[in-house]
Symmetry: C2
Subunit: 340 residues, 2 copies
Amino acid sequence: MIIDCHGHYTTAPAAHQRFRDAQIAGLKDPAAAPAAPGSISDDEIRETIETNQLKLQKQRGTDLTIFSPRASAMGHHVGNEAVSAAWARANNDLIKRVVDLYPESFAGVCQLPQSPGVPIAHSVRELERCVRDLGFVGCNLNPDPSGGHWNSPPLTDRHWYPFYEKMVELGVPAMVHVSASCNPNFHATGAHYINADTTAFMQFIEADLFRDFPSLKCGIPHGGGAVPYHWGRYRGLADMLKRPPLAEHVMKNVFFDTCVYHQAGIDLLLRVIDVDNILFGSEMIGAVRGIDPQTGFHFDDTKRYVDASALSAADKSRIFATNARRVFPRLDAMLKAQGR
Amino acid sequence: MIIDCHGHYTTAPAAHQRFRDAQIAGLKDPAAAPAAPGSISDDEIRETIETNQLKLQKQRGTDLTIFSPRASAMGHHVGNEAVSAAWARANNDLIKRVVDLYPESFAGVCQLPQSPGVPIAHSVRELERCVRDLGFVGCNLNPDPSGGHWNSPPLTDRHWYPFYEKMVELGVPAMVHVSASCNPNFHATGAHYINADTTAFMQFIEADLFRDFPSLKCGIPHGGGAVPYHWGRYRGLADMLKRPPLAEHVMKNVFFDTCVYHQAGIDLLLRVIDVDNILFGSEMIGAVRGIDPQTGFHFDDTKRYVDASALSAADKSRIFATNARRVFPRLDAMLKAQGR
């Protein structure tokens, strides 16, 4: 079995984007009635999924995608708390419909209704709704709801603790994932995403978050940002800062995905990071959609790189499935209920 | 011959830091006379260099360090333009004294007097002084003088062009290097440095800076941030953004150093980046000062990793010296004048 831990509904029907556009247009006219989510038929959902994510699952030989709303469209910096709450809810409801239509091919992960300056505690209710009512197995947590201005407290600040308490209570992990950048210095998928991954990991080194929440689980996407490439630097910095070794200080709680789009990068990841800390992911259909002229295959067909690596079959199966079932216990329960 | 392209005077005599402390204390009292650089004897400089950088050069078998003021202490976000100008000048004068004392072991690279919101054109005069009067061979350019708030225009914006014009005229490259972070989200050496490297590279992809300045040369330190690890992503993004292939669009002008503190990271760098785009560097004495328990050697003894790589002797000598002499033509001229 092959579980892709990192997929987004980047191909949602046009009515969904029209709702977002109406929301944004409404920001200019506070007296206007709030926009309402568009009407989307099951057939429209089937069309967008079957010609895209489901087709690629079959082509590439993966079985199930842990599926969340389009990350770059979360846009937590747009509008206010009410706008963000309505947008998150509509996105999550749409993910739920995908999962209901294809319960063996997708598991839901929610977008949170974050807004700059709004306590993260306000996101707890939507997390509970998604996990308890919609059956989702995790969430995407944005460490920078400002979209590139980085004016929230670090992820290890007590500001975030009420949310972690709820995550632990519900037994769901978070993938640390920023959204679009409104800072012209940072290209979203080429800089902001990767920087956020690197930043989060270093925050974890500096603090004692996982002493306070020993069972908290955080995924860092895009292969852990710059971290595996600079693994010596991070081991050395932990030592200089008199932190415990990374294996016990951070790596009981943190997981990197395989969204690294070339063989050499995946080989490095597998060489330096313990296999138990790696989750298969492709980020498809997402950041990079083209075909690599050097290989003739899609850049984001990351299964090929893992397949071609020197890992044993047993280790590959941990990356492809076992680790994800451990990190996402609600996914594991769901799969067991399906007899898988 | 082995040239280390990335070293900082992190061990400057105490009087130098006392000057900085007095500068910072003076910020609270605008009526006070500006602080003056401390008195430092040649013997004090010899002591701090011979027991540190020069000792490590000998131990590790390197010949010359391209040497600049301590990057984390540039502190462009502290004070105002006048404070930054005086601090940069004092730092550069100190580097000049090191070079004069050890002209075969060090070549100077200058800190610039940047300040948030101040046009970069104001840095041109100090660059000219350092190159023409002090004989420096390059400069360190801070893409984020705010120290982690990232509110300057991208490096490819015309804001920066007057400075690039002067660089080209003088025939000196810049190393893109941020300073300390005053944003609690970003640990300086563990996040801010690496993020800045990644960010700069993506800015170069998005724009046409090197079409406008075909002879401009920029070093991206710390092994290019996250870029080599995500080389497939960057090749794919260039393609998606309809930019030319990286080899012609960026890599005629951009160089990565070898400040990557473990063998696997260096092996990746050498595997994906053309050998002509790699400059040997160690960042010593700098970000990570400890000994790697896995090897028994200093993390930042990066020569060991290059030595242990599978590269041919000819390719190693390009990384160790030939490339640096090409990227720093004034260094090459200086070495030739020394008969080297």
